[in-house]
Symmetry: D2
Subunit: 318 residues, 4 copies
Amino acid sequence: MPGVPPTRFVYLGPESTFTEQALLTIPAAVRGIRTPARSVPEALEAVRSGDADAALVPWENSVGGAVGVTLDELVDGPALVITRDVVVPVDFVLAARGDRHLQNIRSVAAHPQAFTQCRGWLRSHIPDAAIVDVLSNGAAAASAADGTNDAAICAPIAIDRFGLKVLAEKIADHPDAVTRFVLLSRPGTPPPDPTGDDITSLAVWIAHDKVGALLAVLTELAVRGVNLTRIESRPTGERLGRYVFFLECTGHVAEARVGEALQGLRRICAEVRFLGSYPRATPPGTRERPVPPPAGLSDLDYADSAAWLSRLRRGELG
Amino acid sequence: MPGVPPTRFVYLGPESTFTEQALLTIPAAVRGIRTPARSVPEALEAVRSGDADAALVPWENSVGGAVGVTLDELVDGPALVITRDVVVPVDFVLAARGDRHLQNIRSVAAHPQAFTQCRGWLRSHIPDAAIVDVLSNGAAAASAADGTNDAAICAPIAIDRFGLKVLAEKIADHPDAVTRFVLLSRPGTPPPDPTGDDITSLAVWIAHDKVGALLAVLTELAVRGVNLTRIESRPTGERLGRYVFFLECTGHVAEARVGEALQGLRRICAEVRFLGSYPRATPPGTRERPVPPPAGLSDLDYADSAAWLSRLRRGELG
Amino acid sequence: MPGVPPTRFVYLGPESTFTEQALLTIPAAVRGIRTPARSVPEALEAVRSGDADAALVPWENSVGGAVGVTLDELVDGPALVITRDVVVPVDFVLAARGDRHLQNIRSVAAHPQAFTQCRGWLRSHIPDAAIVDVLSNGAAAASAADGTNDAAICAPIAIDRFGLKVLAEKIADHPDAVTRFVLLSRPGTPPPDPTGDDITSLAVWIAHDKVGALLAVLTELAVRGVNLTRIESRPTGERLGRYVFFLECTGHVAEARVGEALQGLRRICAEVRFLGSYPRATPPGTRERPVPPPAGLSDLDYADSAAWLSRLRRGELG
Amino acid sequence: MPGVPPTRFVYLGPESTFTEQALLTIPAAVRGIRTPARSVPEALEAVRSGDADAALVPWENSVGGAVGVTLDELVDGPALVITRDVVVPVDFVLAARGDRHLQNIRSVAAHPQAFTQCRGWLRSHIPDAAIVDVLSNGAAAASAADGTNDAAICAPIAIDRFGLKVLAEKIADHPDAVTRFVLLSRPGTPPPDPTGDDITSLAVWIAHDKVGALLAVLTELAVRGVNLTRIESRPTGERLGRYVFFLECTGHVAEARVGEALQGLRRICAEVRFLGSYPRATPPGTRERPVPPPAGLSDLDYADSAAWLSRLRRGELG
């Protein structure tokens, strides 16, 4: 019996990084095809071109912040939507070939985000080591394995694969650091159903000749009781002072208050790009309760007010 | 051939007042039945009970302000809606029987609103005359005609009817004073069609345990670009500090932005009573241009944003 | 030993009204000289001209609402300030000469505010009686005493003085109705010291070419945590749609947050008239707890932030 | 004659980068001592420890966005203040040793920000070349010079110093790209005098148990007419969803409206760190007119309102 073809996942490679580890928490990806991409742009391009069905890429880190290249690529090209997010702990290790010792480490290969997160440990343990930026935690491990650098900051998953030994564990300055990844697909199907604990992601371009435009954007959300959980600005590239804002809110596009707020943004912003509504992921062991809509702003309240307005418009009032 | 029965109008009497004069500017009233009521409550009761089809009552005066009894009666009983308003100039005269002269006037019958508007003239011309409050400008004229008082402040229309003579014309302190009347009917038919220059009237009760509730009310309007043209507070009667707010806005309930704002008020207020959407009347000779909806907030913009939201919800994005 | 001259109080007369009753709750007035005025304008003029030191006039009623003439007169002439307010219960009685009986009452003299508050009782008990508006509750009693009208709605204090008998007690529709009076003086001395439970009264004229001006006014207050307890609009007399707003807030001009809010209003409004900061009066038996300033907005918080700013400006930061 | 000791500047090294080029636009730096630092943290540490008087570090780029490490280091340690900013064009070149040709380039050393800005050119001209992240544009040039990589994206200033040849000029995707640097000093002296075209930089931590806290922050600015020109969020490192916001506004801490807004932020935010008020730099050839304070919000208007409040508090009103 012929089955449906397996889903083709692409992820920010190389193999043996936290991204691959995050991908393996998605059951469909475990069953599907998983292909590493050399860069975030390449991963997104694979989905846009149809070579892959979905791409998992890093989105933000609790220490390093937003992953600028993902934000930039997402709004620079045909629309993609987030269909889910994944949060994974980031347990960095310092690894090296078997013949190296901590006291002799003169160069450490590290992805910039990894370096950012282990800066304190590096300062206090190997302050004289040169830090060599590399493109990924996997590349860092490879660089240590082939001797280009003396050691690497990498994910535990890379140790066995590259035959490295661990010089130090838990070297991150924030032991609870996590990275959040998003799974991106081409639009075409409705967002996942609301769960009562969803996130809606947006990119908005504000009209730059309007004073107080960002205040107006936040007011459109606040008036509908839509809670803003994150705001990031990225330059549009035109000149200093021109930004696109990435907003994340609690709630789902299918909910009335979110829908009305989105329409409001559509009317006052130069451009709004909807980036998806999807269930909120939380790191293992830290499940929080969802934030309910404020009093008077549930879907039932919206339905009541819409029915009331219809009666007003028909001239019925009591 | 049997015709439709004539429309039955009731108005704040007695006859020969500015209210009757205002009523006669409405063509259907000229053709219909016109009955004076002894008070605003009686006029409204006639409509509520079905004895009359519509009531014309004073609403506000450019000098004396809101007509409290009309506001109070309108929200204290079954719903009525404003279907039009009428603005008439208020050209008070001081009138008396033929045997009286200005220098001998010791008592002047006057409706309190009339007194309020002629106070300056009275002070400077007959400062020693006692002002006797009466229930209407018509009653003032009758009081002068029957000798109860020496003179009356009344409408020109009362001069001939009561056989009075004019002691002084244009005695109002504000020569451009106008009174605005509203025509009230039972709900049951849709409001008059939007004209592009309409008013929507509301009464709202705010939740008194919420700090900043009035600010929230105004924000609901402002976010949708709905322009507030008037706000009046009236006590609810419970205690000091409890008010019902009467709001008037530009726009029509059938327009998208007004409808969305009304729904917002419905959700955040303890109660909202819709008092009608109707074409804006302006005094003779002072026609102003209607205020267009702000950029991005026309019905077309709302239709565009609603269509866009539908596409988002269906998963279509390009 | 020569003493200081007694304080000269004027009040809205005639004698034997609720205003006189209110005045007698002020110890200095009991010791001082008390003169009735024929009208609110006359009372205010007596203070403005120096013939009196202070005037007690009605300000608002929990049923009838604002006393328009007081509001209008207060902003139409040289500045006066409120130095205290007095709240008294309004226990109306229906009174008549000894020879009249309830079933024969055909005319009732009543001040319009009194009529407003007893409308329900009158409708259900003597629906056919004509209501004759008079200028005061005292004048109503006099009108019943001299036979001009069959009965009067008046204050209990008038019964003995005019030799009337009580036909019905507690005839007000709202048994808990109260009237609030204000004591007005010429400026020249600082407001009474803050007590922690004060009211500040203002009149503001907004710039009419600015959309959203009232929202801006309320925002100036809200940002400083100043709680608006009352807003009244009165026409400026120029034309429909031009209003002066009377605002009452919790707090005292000597407090930092109120002072900053007042300055903000001064900058954005066409005009602001300060009408006084004074201890809040509450009706007997209904003492409420004062509303404390919101977290972070006490005078201590303001002092802290001002000291911090001074350090910033001097270049000291830690 | 003994002179004052020269000012000691430290800058993000190595030599021959855009940062050194930016530093050389500051006359005092041309005359002073200029020392490269290996990293932004090292540069800031030099100032904090007193080893240097001022540090010039990158702040934001019109394409790559905020320089996260600078933002993070600035708020993670003793206070430093910005005393001026410098904007320089970013004219990247692709450079290599004399024996390399474009068609043979297999690896390109690039700082991540440089790579971000030249991505399009790289894709279309040498799509198969590996990009090797390095710590600086100077390190990129060195890496090409010593043969570690085939080529480098670097600043023109590095060509001569490293004996490289230019394979391609103007390879940035945005030909008008600029980088903005800030000069940081220890606090202790007042900010530079206001020029009428100044920027004030801040970091604010909002109270996370308050819904709408960011809206409240922006409202504190808007109410005083303070224009927000930039907002960046950086994680605090505690967990996802905890951010510190970097704000930049037009205006100077010595100006009344900015001072009042700062005090407001101080009162409502968990913490505010002042990062300096300084003249606004603009890129060569693009001088814009300063944004004047909104009507009613100049220092004169603040002085007027403060004087008015003093009169109110003293009881003087006319």
